[in-house]
């Protein structure tokens, strides 16, 4: 495999004295799609919130493109080309679709490319162009996810973390969004899919990491992992 774009070493994240991530380590190769799966409460979202700078770690190290980014604030990490699509889309619901996308290009580097990025996003999601003047709060769940993904793309990132984008969406919508993610990846963006739906993420990703109780307990090429291995890692029994 090629060189790693993101590495996480022995990361621990607490909420008060609640240990959400407890010594997790993983590595994401350049240009790949990696899926991170696990049951609810396994620590997946917290791990990547920490990578993106939304929460601070207690110990451990996060390296992005060879640079130590541990504990940096979120706005500095996004400026380095690592963008999070947060769980539940978290669009700015009182702003229009286009204003949301405008906010996506907030970093200095991204502002110059605003026009080009906007064109690309509208090509990828034509429905967003149709609804560009609508408040994002008035959109359907699937369309809001598209806004959230488009907003992340506006930053022209090298890596996107997708946190449970399929949650609560209809299967046909999920299928469509996954197809877009493959397109985005083919365009050179490294992707991490944080998912509960193991089978779907296995089909999409080159590498799969399984989390259990705050740790990464299994990691391998998606094609090499057996169902038994994954099940054991996923449930712990």
């Amino acid at each position: 495999m090629s060189e790693a774009m993101l590495t996480v070493e022995d990361l621990q994240v607490n909420y008060g004295d609640f240990i959400a991530v407890n010594g997790a380590s993983l590595s994401v190769p350049c240009g790949e799609i990696v899926s991170v799966v696990g049951t609810n409460g396994a620590g997946k979202s917290t791990l990547f919130d920490c990578v993106a700078g939304v929460v601070k770690p207690v110990r451990g190290k996060v390296t992005f493109k060879g640079e130590d980014i541990t504990g940096l604030p979120a706005h500095e990490i996004v400026a380095k080309g690592l963008t999070l699509v947060p769980q539940g889309s978290r669009c700015f619901i009182r702003m229009t679709v286009e204003e949301n996308l405008f906010m996506g290009s907030y970093t200095k580097k991204a502002r110059k490319g605003y026009r080009d990025s906007l064109k690309k996003v509208y090509e990828l999601f034509p429905v967003l162009y149709e609804k560009r003047n609508d408040l994002s709060g008035s959109l359907s769940g699937g369309q809001r996810q598209m806004v959230a993904i488009g907003r992340a793309l506006m930053n022209a990132p090298e890596m996107i973390l997708f946190d449970e984008i399929s949650l609560g969406l209809a299967p046909t919508v999920i299928k469509d969004i996954y197809a877009r993610i493959k397109e985005i990846n083919a365009g050179g963006v490294t992707a991490v899919l944080i998912e509960q739906d193991v089978k779907r993420s296995l089909r999409t990703s080159a590498q799969c990491d399984v989390m259990l109780k705050g740790k990464v307990v299994l990691s391998g090429k998606s094609g090499d992992l057996t169902e038994e291995q994954i099940k054991l890692a996923y449930f712990g029994v």
Partner: protein, 284 residues
């Protein structure tokens, strides 16, 4: 009656600019700025000091007063309020209350308790409307035009610039704004700076229109409250309509009930709004 209507409408523009800063801070920092009225009066006194020292016209004093007030707002937010925001609602509230007392006493110290007025030639001018007997007081007209212009400009700033959009985005979803690259504490500082600038603009207009005292702040805090409650927190356009309603309520109240009940009419409108539409006319 016609005169009360004219004055009420024109006053609406002034009230909108008095309240808009409070509305911004309500909507974005989620803070009830109890010192907002004093910020307005502080702006007026700063202008007075500049005019006295340099002989500049009150409008020309903006060149000095506005940057100073922006810096002051930014500094207050960054050094005092930001670090308290994680500790619940009360500590920042108390800080602003404390600031209110400090400002009032500093003004007393430096300017005495005497009435002051920002002098200009507009005070005495007026425009007659046909032969109805009603007049448009020139200063009221200027208040209204400047007030409306600033509200519209502020609305453009919020919609068209990165900083303005960032301010709105933070008020919508703080965390999402952070992962888009927004430095939230910095934006809070800028928002407070902008609120202070609007307070200063309002203060100068107030000082040119009426007489002011170091303790006048509470009167304008109540007007701000009224505008925020009627217009809806954080809605800039709402403040304009709310200013109009509040201004009309006061002047018509004064016309029908007598001057002594002018303030009461305003409060009644606030109470009715709280009972009927507690989130304001333009709450989203």
């Amino acid at each position: 009656m016609a005169q009360a209507l004219i004055n009420g409408i024109l006053l609406g523009g002034l009230y909108a600019i008095v309240g808009v800063g409070m509305s911004i801070i309500f909507g974005i920092v989620k803070l009830t700025n109890l010192a907002h009225g004093d910020f307005v009066i502080l702006g007026a006194y700063l202008s007075l000091a500049v005019s006295t020292a340099t002989g500049l016209h009150p409008f020309a004093s903006f060149a000095i007063v506005l940057p100073v007030m922006f810096g002051l707002g930014f500094a207050i937010q960054r050094t005092m309020v930001n670090r308290l925001l994680t500790r619940g609602d009360e500590p920042p509230l108390l800080v602003m209350f404390g600031l209110s007392i400090i400002i009032q006493n500093l003004l007393l110290q430096f300017f005495s308790a005497d009435a002051q007025h920002l002098r200009s030639t507009y005070d005495i001018g007026s425009i007659k409307i046909g032969d109805t007997g009603a007049i448009i007081p020139l200063m009221f007209l200027i208040d209204c035009i400047i007030g409306v212009a600033i509200i519209l400009a502020l609305n453009m700033f919020m919609k068209k610039t990165y900083v303005g959009n960032a301010i709105r985005a933070v008020s919508d979803d703080n965390t999402a704004a952070r992962i888009m690259g927004v430095n939230v504490p910095l934006v809070y500082g800028v928002a407070m700076g902008v609120a202070m600038v609007t307070a200063a603009l309002a203060g100068v207009l107030v000082g040119m229109t009426y007489t002011i005292y170091p303790t006048s702040g509470s009167q304008y805090l109540i007007i701000s409250f009224g505008v925020v409650v009627i217009g809806g927190m954080g809605s800039i356009k709402g403040t304009l309509v709310a200013g109009l309603i509040f201004g009309l309520a006061q002047l018509l109240g004064s016309y029908f009930l007598g001057t002594s009940l002018q303030l009461l009419a305003g409060y009644v409108i606030i109470l009715v709004m709280l009972a009927v539409k507690p989130r304001g006319l333009f709450a989203k």
